[in-house]
Symmetry: D2
């Protein structure tokens, strides 16, 4: 999604946007879309009754990642305290979802793809947190 | 919004839902709607250029409150770690938005109403956090 | 949620807000919260495999109602064309969700409460559409 | 975002997902992120008072695109009626936002990038609608 990079570059106060911020916004968008899809894929599985926790965790992670991406992409008058708290929530949601999806990764390829997206987003949040 | 109370009561695992949880879900819904409206009211003010930080903080707070309400209203297989991190993010977003709206509360009644909703939601998050 | 009424009243351009608009914003907020909760309640039921369509329809309806409430509560420079299209999408999502929840209303009280909220929101959308 | 393509391919009922659907999900994600960023960029501009309509339209378009992407990426038990209504709302929101951003495209590069994303998403919605 190079469009986001171009948007940040053309933003009036976006001149000094860090690579860690851009990477995190992109990881959040990807993880939100992946978790929305994984919740739905789990819902369609024959063994849906055993995937309740996975579906629930996917829904939480999709919601939290979408909001984190939105908060981070707002460059006007940011609050470092809010950014940090949101990033910590996002890392927690990604970790919980990755842990759950990893349990089903051998059986369901969508859970493997989703676990990878969650781990990438968790790491992107941690790396951005380290710079704030 | 007594509908939410009825939904939690009729949920298969909702029997022991705490009053703190119900109050927080309701406060999040109210704060999300209020902040969405306050961002738009600020945008319509003549002095919009001086309300940039208020609009931005309102948008963040609306997003974070909406997601917090959704995460909390999911009773199936919850993760206390995710709940805590999301509640801390919500309290931080509400505090930042309340502080900003309070600066304009004398001049803009919508900022006063919004600051009150943010403080109520911040407190509801803190009270629920104290029980987790 | 009388807070929303107060917000609309104190909005710079909110003076002539119609009762149909206020009622629709409130119905959207209530329906979004109810559908989020019903999706989760269905997920916790023993017969979750038979509630796939209900869960999916609940998730769609929750998403569409939340966005419709946000679009409607923005009074600054509205587009009647966008409002109408969003209201039609919301009425369609509410109708689909009500039809599905009504099938399970005898067995699951949360589906009965949710079907009622969806029908109220569908009607509120239709009534507002009739004024635009 | 090839991750979404992989998610749809590994979905239990995703085998016959059309290219038009995949393209539309991706266009919605890109447009949502772009409009969120453009609203914030406009807010930071000196001439923010002249960009009120652009900010408002951006916020609507971001919300509607995000929900449209979520509805479309759910493949389990879809409702063609809901899909069509949501796609029409998304096309309307994208058209309105593109029209507004195009007015400022010569002055603000972020509005030019955003108008392009809106036009691409509008077209992706129309193309998918033609197949439903």
């Amino acid at each position: 999604m190079s469009t986001i990079t171009r948007m940040l570059q053309t933003h009036p106060v976006g001149g000094d946007t860090s690579e860690a911020l851009r990477a995190c916004i992109q990881a959040c968008a990807e993880c939100a879309a992946t978790c929305t899809s994984c919740a739905d894929a789990c819902l369609a599985e024959d063994m849906v009754a055993e995937l309740r926790r996975c579906i629930r965790t996917n829904l939480d992670c999709a919601d939290v990642c979408a909001v984190t991406g939105a908060v981070l992409s707002r460059l006007t008058e940011p609050s470092a305290e809010v950014q940090r708290a949101v990033l910590q929530a996002c890392a927690a949601a990604c970790r919980a979802c990755a842990q759950e999806c990893e349990k089903h990764a051998d059986m369901h390829e969508h859970c493997r793809v989703c676990a990878d997206a969650c781990r990438r987003c968790e790491q992107a949040c941690e790396e951005l947190l380290a710079t704030l």
